[in-house]
Symmetry: C2
Subunit: 228 residues, 2 copies
């Protein structure tokens, strides 16, 4: 049962946790499905749980006195939400509702907090996970503002084949348009970049697999700004 709940490791908060930590946390966790527009929690309510979004999308918003709504944030899959307020033990500052049909993992505050209170190391691993994520995101912001689309694509390819360290193929599990948006380019641009890289024989594309043929050249291409 709690085995597929391990998806929560994709959230920075849980990324560094040990299997036993996760098992403990997930003891009382449950998956809840919300239909589009269904409310998940209301602003002002005592924060009873934090959430991990498995699929779908969730809107955090507040309502003005006139009743019009201001969207604060849109949560996408693999992210946690309402965790901040759980750490501080207060009330939800915003409303949350599903935008599209969504699946969430719900972790009860009292359970979560009491585990954390008795497990200092786990708290440290969470801090480490979040702080890694902060650094990653700062990198992303930097790369969005001062790298070209081509450089970001090259960087992505390198990051994907870096662990296998050489001439292995990158198998694209996720559709290319999703990868494209992940690195901040349109699908068309992504396609074009792959085309020029293919032309320069830095990579070979076969179906959903991308082979990096010349890692060093690709790195040079990413760093230098050669045209043609």
């Amino acid at each position: 049962m709690s085995d597929d709940l391990f998806v929560i490791r994709r959230a920075a908060l849980f990324a560094n946790l040990l299997p036993e930590d996760l098992r403990l946390l997930l003891k009382n966790a449950r998956i809840i499905r919300f239909k589009a527009h269904e409310q998940i929690f209301a602003a002002g309510a005592q924060a009873a749980a934090l959430y991990f979004l498995v699929s779908g999308s969730v809107r955090l918003f507040s309502l003005s006195s006139q009743g019009d709504e201001k969207v604060i944030e849109v949560i996408m899959p693999d992210a946690t939400f309402a965790e901040g307020v759980v750490f501080l033990g207060g009330r939800y500052p915003v409303h949350a509702a599903a935008v599209t049909d969504s699946e969430v993992v719900e972790l009860a505050t009292h359970h979560f907090s009491s585990i954390l209170a008795n497990n200092h190391d786990m708290a440290m691993r969470m801090l480490a996970g979040l702080s890694t994520r902060v650094h990653q995101l700062i990198q992303d912001v930097a790369s969005l503002t001062l790298e070209t689309a081509g450089q970001r694509v090259a960087g992505y390819l390198l990051s994907q084949c870096s662990p296998t360290c050489g001439n292995e193929a990158i198998h694209m599990v996720i559709p290319k348009n999703v990868v494209a948006s992940r690195i901040g380019v349109k699908a068309e641009t992504f396609s074009r970049v792959l085309a020029t890289l293919r032309g320069r024989e830095l990579i070979r594309v076969t179906g959903n697999d991308i082979h990096v043929l010349d890692r060093d050249a690709l790195m040079r291409w990413r760093d230098g700004v050669e045209r043609t």
Copy 2:
């Protein structure tokens, strides 16, 4: 002495801490000045401290066996670095060196960890701070990829006058070019956007003060994509 050390609150990690928390943490803290290119710590060394950068800039990098250097990250003021490894209690995975003359606050690992171990609430406040920062950064990434420069500028102005909730002036303490780069536009573009907003009488600029004349119109301008 430890009073000006309170600048560390600018880091997400410390943003939520109580004054007494900070005082406790800063007991053994010290400010260290590094000249450009001076080493701060070496990869492989036991992580003895975490750092907060007050001014200057710091380079985190690793060295390949061939001796060439790969820059992992460039730390800018108000950020912490090496905090992740301190939470996990290991060795520094990278080298750190000042790029330009820099001031850092150094917090010794053993001191930091022992305080945190005895102060569960403080750990929770740190988690809350980091998680807020993560959400902020995700917002920033979103706004960089799917808003225009004009929208970001408008959003910035609104965020600055939102608390004072109306017709107060925003006093720009920081130079405009810094603000510009903060929101991901060139200084010239920033200037141009202010010019068009001035032309439309949504704002008035006098020296370093910017008055938002019509909040609602500015919001509409940010959301809608009207030209001219």
